[in-house]
């Protein structure tokens, strides 16, 4: 197995994860408008999940074929979520 890549700066990723978590908890207790809070939390959670997969799980060093193989099927979850929407849409809209 080739190991020519340099290691990511793991400590930096760790501090980012910690900082974003603190921001998240802060957002919850700050009593911001609901829509703003939800959007912020979802985006922050996605960013943290991406940081872990990209750096700790070394996805940034993998072949694009692997990234596609793992990433694209996740679109099925979007489909699942949209599929559930008709049942709940009347409560939101």
């Amino acid at each position: 197995m080739e190991q020519t890549h340099v290691e990511p700066n793991y400590m930096k990723i760790f501090w980012w994860l910690l900082a974003l978590t603190i921001v998240e908890v802060g957002v919850v207790y700050a009593h911001l408008p609901k829509m703003f809070m939800v959007t912020t939390l979802v985006l922050l959670a996605m960013a943290k999940a991406f940081l872990v997969a990209w750096n700790f799980m070394h996805l940034k060093f993998e072949k694009s074929a692997l990234i596609m193989m793992v990433g694209l099927p996740l679109l099925l979850l979007v489909d699942l979520f949209l599929g559930l929407m008709p049942d709940i849409a009347h409560r939101i809209f």
């Binding site: 793991y10 908890v25 919850v28 959670a45 692997l66 409560r91």
Partner: protein
Amino acid sequence: MDDVMTMDSSPELAGTARGKLGMWLFLLSDALTFGALLCAYGASRMGSADWPVPSQVLDVPLTAFNTFVLVCSSLTMVKALSAIRHGNVKGLQKFLLLTALGGAIFLSIQAYEYHHLLFVEGLRMRNSLFCATFFALTSFHGAHVLSGVIYLLIIAWRSTKGDFTAARNHRVEVAGLYWHFVDLVWILVFTFVYLL
């Protein structure tokens, strides 16, 4: 030993070592399962008129600390892989045990949380959609952490048999993938179930 040699020098599939590819495919299926559970939680919540505010029912500061523990254990996991890639077996063992300890602390705190919810608050899965989806999601994740701790201890035990060297550490990397995934899922569960 032959078995270990074969695993590390195994032919690649789609440009990726077999063991790693297998773990990624497993994690993909696991991601879809967790995704389905999260969608079920979200759909139930949006479809309910009387969903409790999670932060009023659940202990957010304690769980935030638990999230911190799991992120720390991800850090020690990358340190473990980094150690063995530099040929440092003692470092590998130290960091593997620290990672497993992080998992054990997480499980202890979750056990305390469950004890509180079940026996002090008297919540049961059958009480409400919130309880059903909450317990299904967090216990499924807890089972993953438990499996991960056992997995890491097996890797640590194999390292005492001389399985891993600077050139041969594929199975440590694969175990790391699993552990980071469990951390990743918790990051999402913490946000969607505890914070939102």
